[in-house]
């Protein structure tokens, strides 16, 4: 599987995984100038932006570790962009990460939900 296929598969797996956990999926692949948000969902009155990280090879670290500071900043700005372009959203929101490891045949070895994985940077 190439990178795109791994990513696509991961996003499909993540959607099923989140639905089972009561996430109501509002939108997938929200794009803006700052980047993309894989899944936008709502659960218990909270708006949740989900970044899906899928890895088929752990030589360069776990899926969780693959999110850089720069990516975190982009996720926050993209979330802000989503908030600014949509009406009637709940005021509570957070950014979760779904980390997925698959083997070479595309079977899931590990899938984990990290709630509130990305918090806005504190000012100095």
């Amino acid at each position: 599987m190439n990178r795109q296929e791994v990513g696509k598969l991961g996003e499909k797996l993540a959607q099923g995984f989140l639905k089972k956990r009561g996430y109501h999926i509002l939108e997938t692949g929200f794009r803006c100038r700052s980047g993309e948000i894989d899944i936008v969902a709502q659960r218990k009155g909270c708006l949740i932006f989900v970044e899906v990280r899928t890895k088929s090879n752990l030589d360069f670290g776990t899926p969780e570790e693959s999110i850089t500071q720069g990516k975190k900043r982009k996720l926050i700005t993209s979330a802000l962009s989503y908030i600014s372009t949509h009406q009637d959203l709940p005021s509570a929101w957070r950014i979760d990460v779904v980390a997925i490891e698959i083997d070479s045949e595309g079977k899931v070895r590990r899938i984990a939900l990290i709630e509130n994985a990305v918090e806005e940077e504190q000012p100095l």
Binding site: I76, T77, L80, I83, S84, S91, W93, E120, Q122, P123
Partner: protein, 215 residues
């Protein structure tokens, strides 16, 4: 340090003040262009973007623009005051800043009952007020006002950059960066430079100083 919050506003609301405006300024230290003040009355309740608000200097330009739009669309009232370089040269920057703040308050479509102001107070304004040191970092309404002031001023400077090209005004917005000072020395001041400010004054009284330095 904690991000800006609504503690000051909530306390004033307990005292019976309903409409509380935050006030802040941008461009006080710049060598060219106006000083701009923003005034913001936030809506009741808590909105999703509140927790991303910081004082304008701590935000990326992109975030600042998105927050600016959110404030414009969702605040109860927004006002901006712009005071030109000419007035700054005539009355001094502190008085010009206060003037811009007064204008920003007057531009508010709804009259506030209390003003929370970054650092200063406005003695000539009859509305109850408090000057808060580091207010732009502590108080959410003032932080929002700082975004309104900064983005409004940046947009003005981007327009001035088209009228006075070659100085990089769209980049440094008139602040005294190395690039700006060297342009000033090469090209001299434009019609929007603050002649009362030392770095600009030095260029006029000492026009050839960059040649001397290069030797």
């Amino acid at each position: 340090m904690e991000p800006p919050n609504l503690k000051h506003e909530d306390e004033l609301k307990l005292q019976g003040y309903q409409f509380i405006a935050g006030i802040d300024e941008a461009g006080r230290g710049a060598l060219a262009g106006p000083v701009v003040a923003g005034a913001v009355i936030l809506p009741q309740g808590h909105l999703s973007w509140f927790r991303l608000v910081r004082d304008s200097k701590q935000l990326s330009p992109r975030k600042r623009e998105i927050l600016f739009d959110l404030i414009q669309n969702q605040a109860m009232a927004v006002g901006a005051g712009v005071v030109s370089h000419k007035v700054i040269d005539k009355v001094n920057i502190l008085e010009a800043t206060k003037l811009a703040m007064m204008q920003a308050v007057e531009k508010l479509p709804r009259q506030p009952q209390f003003l929370l102001i970054d650092r200063l107070t406005l003695p000539r304004c009859s509305i109850s007020q408090e000057g808060i040191t580091r207010g732009d970092k502590l108080c959410l309404s003032i932080a929002c006002a700082s975004i309104v002031a900064k983005v409004t001023r940046d947009h003005i400077m981007e327009q001035f950059d088209k009228v006075y090209p070659g100085y990089g005004l769209a980049r440094h917005k008139g602040y005294g960066t190395k690039e700006h000072i060297s342009c000033l020395q090469k090209l001299g001041p434009t019609a929007i430079h603050r002649l009362s400010f030392a770095p600009v004054k030095n260029v006029i009284t000492n026009p050839g100083c960059d040649n001397l330095k290069s030797k």
